[in-house]
Every structure is written in C-alpha cells, then in structure tokens.
Amino acid sequence: MKKLVILIVLTMAFSTPVRAAVEVQELTSPGGINAWLVEERSIPFIALEIRFRGGSALDEPGKRGAISLMMATLEEGAAELDSQGFAAAREALAASFRFNVYDDVTTISARFLTENRDAAVALLKTALLEPRFDQVAIDRVRAQVLSIIKSDATDPSDIAGTNFDQLAWGDHPYASSRNGTLETVQGLSRQDMVDARARVFAQDQMYVSAVGDISAQELGLLLDELLGGLPQTGGPLAKTANYQLTSGTTVIPFDTPQSVALFGHQGIKRDDPDYMAAYVLNEVFGGGGFESRLMTEVREKRGLTYGVGTSLVPMDYGELILGQVRSDNASMAESIAVIRDEWAKIGETGLTAQELQDAKTYLTGAYALRFDGNAPIARIMVGMQMIGLPVDYIRTRNDLINALTLAEINRVARRIYQPENLHFVVVGQPDGVETGN
C-alpha cells in the first residue's frame, strides 16, 4: 500500500496551527539554502526535516529498488566509520536519523539534543556526503530487502497493491514496488548505489524545515555546514505516468479467509483548482472518520468490514482516487456492490448541505490539532514548501474550506467520481466475484 503512505505525507501539508507559538520564520542561509523554522525553546532538542523532490520514480530502467536500497544503506557506514561504528556514534549522541523513500520524494528526518547539536550534524553530514557503501553493508541490507519482497508476495494487501499499480501504470516506475523485484535487487551493484545517490541529492530539489531549540541564524550556519557540500543539480526528473486501467474487476486468487480489495480510478492533481473541493468530498465519502459514508454503509449498517476508506493520491506524475476494504470471502461481493452504489450516488447527487457543513466544521477544527510536536510541525512545513504553498496558507487554509459552496462541491463530485471507470482488484477467494469488465 505504498500509495497510501505518500498520501499521509501530502495531507500533512494541509495542517494549520493552533499553537500560539507557531510562528514560521522563512530564512535563507549565508550559503543560499532556504528553510522554514519554528523556534520552540521549551524543550532542548531540534527536529530537522530535509526532502528532495524525486523518489523511487527516479530509478533507472532495470534498476528498480536502487534508490530505496541506497537510502537504506546511507547509515551503514560513512567516512572513517563502518556500519557498527556509525550506529555506536549516533547512539552515543542519542540522535536519530531516518532515511526514507517514497514515489516522488526522499526524506531525511533528524532529531538531536541541543547539547549534542554540532556533533550530531557532523555525523549526519558524513552519511550524506561520504557514505561508504561497503559491499558487506550493501549485501546485508539487500538480504533484508529481499526478505521483505518475499513477504510482500504472500501478503494479500501487498498483492492487491502491486496488482493495482501494475494494471494502472504499465511500464512507469509507479507500476512496481519501490523496493524493486527479487531480480532487480539481486542485480544491484555498489556503483548503482553511487549513481542513485547522485540522482537524488541535489540542492535545486531540496526543501528544509526545522523546529526546536535553535535560532534562525544558528540554523542557517548549521544548514550550510550540513548541506552546503551537496551538488547543485541531480539526475533527470521522472516522466509522466499514463493511467491505463478501465472499469471492471480483477480477482487474484489467494488462499485466505478474508479478501482484500483495492478500488479506484484516476484522481485529481494537487495543483488543480478543484483539489480542495475534492479533498472535502473524499473526507465525507471515505475519509478518516467513523462518520464517512462508506464506513456508515459498509460497517455500521451492515457489519461487512472492520474498515473501509478512500484517499486522494496526487503523485507528481499521475494521480489516483483509491480505496481499500477487507471483507470475509462470503461478504466481499456485497461490500463491492454497496461501494459501487455509493460511488455512483455521490457522483450523481454530491453532498447534502448538512454534510458539507459538518465537513467544514470538522476540517477547520481539526487543522490546528495537527501541529502537535516538533517533528510533526517540521513535516508539515516541508510538505507545504514542496506543494508551493506560502507560509500564509496556515492562516488562510480554513477560509478556503469555508468558502466552498455546495454547487461547487457537487460540480466537482460529478467530475471526480466516475462509476463507469471504477476498477476493483480483489485478492482472496471471494464468493460470487469474478474477473470481468
């Protein structure tokens, strides 16, 4: 379900603060690095979030999984330290560095105490600028990745995700797991790690934010020290993905008592003027709460599932509206029928005035609650930068939601919910569900 992971990253970007102290400072370091900072002095640590536009979709043909393996190996030895030496040094500082890769973004999340700030930055810098990529470290991490790939191949949820992506995106990198396949990962060399790093780490694709016990001036110097040595430019960006799936159902037989279904069709771009309306629609239809239409119809009224939900998945080179449901093999057919009905219904008649009002109250009230901790705020701020939202958006976002009219919402409902294009990928042995159009 990698696509849903991305979604979490993106929705964070909508947050708004309640914190009296959320005062975002925009700064440019002496060396020219732009960053957003919230100075929060009450706890002596700093959360630093660094992102590079371009994630696993930058994998070269035949090298699927290279960027993921590279990111997982960054911490496995740098400069004079081998893998264990690096870990011991980081632990002695009580710092944490996390390296992650998603379809369109690679992320570095660091957390360190004020008292260990300079030493932690110096150590992280070696991982970014002087990773060793020792063959023994690559092979050890590779064995872990291969184990994960094998486990995913017997997990119904992962099987559904892989098949949906493959059917939806053809030969684009989005069509396969960012971990790669057994074959591609086995073929990756040390040079592939070096190349992958060169494709990803570039200052012109970099976004930075920090929250914690540090001033703007100190942060500027820290960023120059940490990131100033990275190259200005990286590899070419990815290509647009062409959505290829049409309406219908695909059943992947799998021996399990409960089926998993992924369902959806093409979605809406993040920079589309209708995006905010689509976001509100999705919240009412299949968003996080218990009150969504799908939760009400499939779970609360009929007891067909423990959980059902939908998400907007606006990736940089393609976009989906995607849902997931799990249901016993005996009841999956009914779950699918109910979801298809609801999909058609919202496309035809949109929301009621009451639903829109309730959604506005919820979304505008909940925005502030996202700003709860240094690391979450750092992630929100870097997400906003990547989408191109101004600092001011934190103040205006709720006004944008409140300004949506029912007519506008329902026009967008007709546009984005397309029952004639809805495709279900079902993994399991669902009674009365067959592959077809």
């Binding site: 309640v18 893998s83 264990q84 872990q144 191949a153 399990t256 016993d328 009230g365 909940a366």
Partner: protein, 446 residues
C-alpha cells in the same frame, strides 16, 4: 477505526514518562482517580477514561467480551443516539477512539482544549447509562468478527502469536486472545455485554486522565460536576486472576503456512512484571532487553548474528514490564536463507550462552543509559504518549510514585544486575519456542 489497537501499547510501554513536575492527581468522592498532565504549548487536550478491566478479567467462555463491549460503548445512551458521541467529537474538529488490552479498556478524545467539557459530558454519560438495541449488537458482532479476520486470521504471524501465547500460560487468562476465540465471539450477546458493563464500568473502577492545555483546578471542577454524581459499583471484585502453577516443561510449537515467506524462530520466557514498590527486577529485564536486542548494529544479538556470523536477517529481544500479572521476555531470530530453523535456533541459543560468559560491554551499557535519559527530553514533546503511559501503568497495578521512580531506577541498574537477571530468566522450562515455516519447507524438529 475505533475500538482497536488492543496490543499496541504493551509494546511501547517501555518508553519513559516525562517530567514529573506537571502531574497533578486527586480522587473524587465516588472513588474515581484523576490525573492531570499539563502541556500548555498548544491549545489541545487529550481526555481519557481508563477502566481497570481488560480481557483477562472476562468470565470463562466469554472471550472477547471486553473488546466487544468497547465497540458497543459507541452505540448510544439514554441521552446519546448511536454514533452520536463520535459524530459530535468529529463536528468539533476532534478525534476519538478506544482500545482494549488484557489489563485495561480505555476511551479517549483529542480536541481543542475549550471543548473539554463537551467530551467530558458525553464520556461521563456512557459510564453508567449505556443503551443498545439487539440489532446494534448483532451488526457490531459481525464487525468484531471481521476485525478478527483482518487482524488475526489474515496474518499468519498473528495466528502464530495467538497459539504461542496459549501455550505460554498454563492457567492464567493471558493465554486467551484479547479479541477472543472466534467460536466464542460468535456466541457473545447483549446480556453478556451488559453484565460485564454494569459490574466494571463505574467511577471507582476508572481513572480519568486529562493531558494538555488545562489547569488542574479547572479539571477538578469539571470532573466533580460530570463524573462526581455517578454511582460507584458496590463490592467491586478484587482483580485476582487464576495464576499459573510452576512451569516444569519446555513447550515447542511450529506453524506451517503458505503465507509465511520469511521463516523465524521465537522464544518467550515467563518473566516477572513491574510490581508496585518492587520494580527493580523489571528494571533489570528492561536493560537486558536493550543490551541483547535494542539496536541492530550495537546490541549483542545484532552484532553476533547479523554482523559477525551473518546468520540472521533480523533479531530482537523484547520485554515490557507494564502488566498486572506475570509477563514474558521474548527473543526472535529470522535467519538468512542459508540456515535451517534448527540451525537458527541453535545460533540464537549460542549467542545468548556467549553473552552469559562475556558479560555486558561497558560502553554499550553507558550509551543505553544516555539514550534513556535523552528519551525523557524527547518524550516531553508528546503529551498523548505520556498520557498513555500513565494510563497503562495505573491500570496495571502501579502508582504515580512507581511511574515517577522508574526512570531513575533504570539508571541504577548495573552491568552485574543485567547478567544476574539473564541467568535467572533464561530457563527453558519456563519457555515456549516457536518455529514459523513456509509451506514448502519440510524440516524435522530437533
């Protein structure tokens, strides 16, 4: 998704509570305990009610009733319609949920701090005035059966954990899964739920935790107004569960499932939990788990099995002392494809035996203590997690004093203490060993 996550908190309970200075506690006249954790950085509050009842307190044959009842608490009261509580929280921009473990059941809302009274009013209402129709009960029973399908039956790792757990406890109800055995869940009814509810859902069996941007005096006034009038349950039974006899014989299980791609071996030893006023044995075991399996690159098992011999893809050692009754200390090895499970188990045993000979590395031990001290600072950034730690500890037989003594207690553990704890805990007569195997592997057990 409400009403879930029953097993998660035990795993994270190892993390440490934060500053003690911001904690205020008092007890209402009807016996309800109140804990206030202040964090004024954001205008947000977490409001939680923890009941001192969990799956291990269920009557025989009614497995799953504690968790099923947790779902039914959202079905309405004399004043609230079905789903109205959650809907009201949502409309006010908040979120709500609940979770059940072996030792506790908890309900919470997270919302802007000026809405505290709203959520408190509703939570107090459902402590004594639950109502539900037969139809609601039948439909919700389908939901928890689907939940079992999602969490357990679809996941061979969970199925195996359930089987190993059942073998771990010879007599204690911890051997019964929180979500329940399917054949018993299918028979749970409205009367079962109400019997359990009326006995255990009462102010003298509950702990209110309010964390965030609140003043203790304000919480006291609101709690007295909304929870104060609720009737306590008379003659609330003491929480005495059937205890295990001495374990005299090693138990071994294997599970073969086509859905297992990565084989692994588990070993879990019976272990003492944190007891009020007597937490030092548990503190030693926490440090032992950190030394053995805390970090892949620097722990004993990681270094020996993942780095030196390269026999393992993954290793771990785990222990959580937050539990009302005896718990377990666990080891795991997931071997590389080159090893059989018999070889993997031997490698794990060998690594532990070497550790008992070699003792604790002084640098590693100091680094672990430093990281524990740092986790207190990082922990201040997450008031919700602190509230969870207080709730889990207080419903597992510990006191505020125990919780506040714990971080310093961990710092007093010595390397010799760790080694001594290791010698005591690693007794196979107390242990369950599990082999998880993909379908095609035909391996003979030792």
């Amino acid at each position: 998704m409400p009403r879930f996550m029953y097993a998660i908190f035990a795993v994270v309970a190892f993390a440490l509570p934060g500053r003690a200075a911001d904690v205020t506690t008092f007890t209402l006249d009807n016996g309800m305990d109140v804990v206030v954790l202040e964090d004024h950085r954001a205008a947000v509050v977490v409001h939680m009610v923890w009941y001192r009842v969990g799956a291990a307190d269920e009557p025989p044959g009614k497995s799953g009733i504690a968790h099923f009842l947790e779902h039914l608490l959202f079905k309405g009261t004399d004043d609230l319609g079905p789903g109205e509580l959650s809907a009201t929280v949502t409309k006010n921009g908040g979120s709500d949920n609940a979770f059940t473990s072996q030792d506790y059941t908890a309900y919470f809302q997270r919302i802007a701090s000026d809405r505290l009274e709203l959520v408190m009013t509703m939570e107090a209402d459902r402590m004594r005035d639950l109502e539900m129709t037969q139809d609601d009960v039948i439909t919700e029973r389908q939901v928890v059966l689907e939940e079992r399908g999602t969490r357990v039956d679809s996941d061979p790792g969970s199925l195996f954990r359930e089987q190993r757990n059942a073998a771990q406890y010879l007599n204690h109800p911890y051997g019964i899964p929180v979500i329940g055995w399917r054949h018993e869940m299918e028979q749970l009814n409205r009367d079962d739920a109400f019997d359990f509810y009326q006995r255990y859902y009462a102010p003298n069996n509950a702990i209110l935790i309010v964390a965030g941007d609140v003043e203790p005096a304000e919480v006291r006034a609101l709690a007295e107004k909304h929870y104060g009038p609720l009737e306590p349950t008379a003659n609330l039974p003491e929480r005495l569960r059937p205890q295990d006899p001495p374990h005299l014989s090693e138990r071994r299980l294997s599970l073969t499932d086509a859905r297992i791609a990565q084989p692994f071996v588990t070993r879990s030893y019976r272990a003492p939990e944190r007891d009020s006023g007597d937490q030092f044995q548990a503190a030693k075991l926490v440090m032992l788990a950190e030394v053995l399996g805390g970090s892949a690159a620097t722990s004993v098992l990681g270094q020996k099995l993942q780095f030196e011999t390269e026999q393992a893809i993954f290793t771990s050692a785990s222990y959580s002392g937050v539990s009302l009754d005896d718990t377990t200390f666990g080891l795991v090895i997931a071997p590389t494809p080159a090893l059989s499970l018999a070889q993997a188990e031997a490698a794990l045993d060998n690594a532990v035996a070497e550790f008992l000979e070699e003792g604790v590395d002084a640098d590693q031990f100091e680094s672990i203590k430093m990281q524990l001290r740092a986790s207190l600072i990082y922990g201040e950034d997450n008031i919700s997690a602190q509230a969870n730690r207080y709730g889990a500890a207080l419903t597992s037989g510990l006191t505020i004093a125990d919780i506040q003594a714990w971080p310093d207690l961990l710092q007093t553990v010595t390397a010799d203490d760790v080694l001594q704890a290791a010698h005591e805990i690693f007794n196979k007569d107390n242990a369950v060993t599990g082999w998880a195997k993909p379908a095609e592997t035909a391996e003979v057990q030792q």
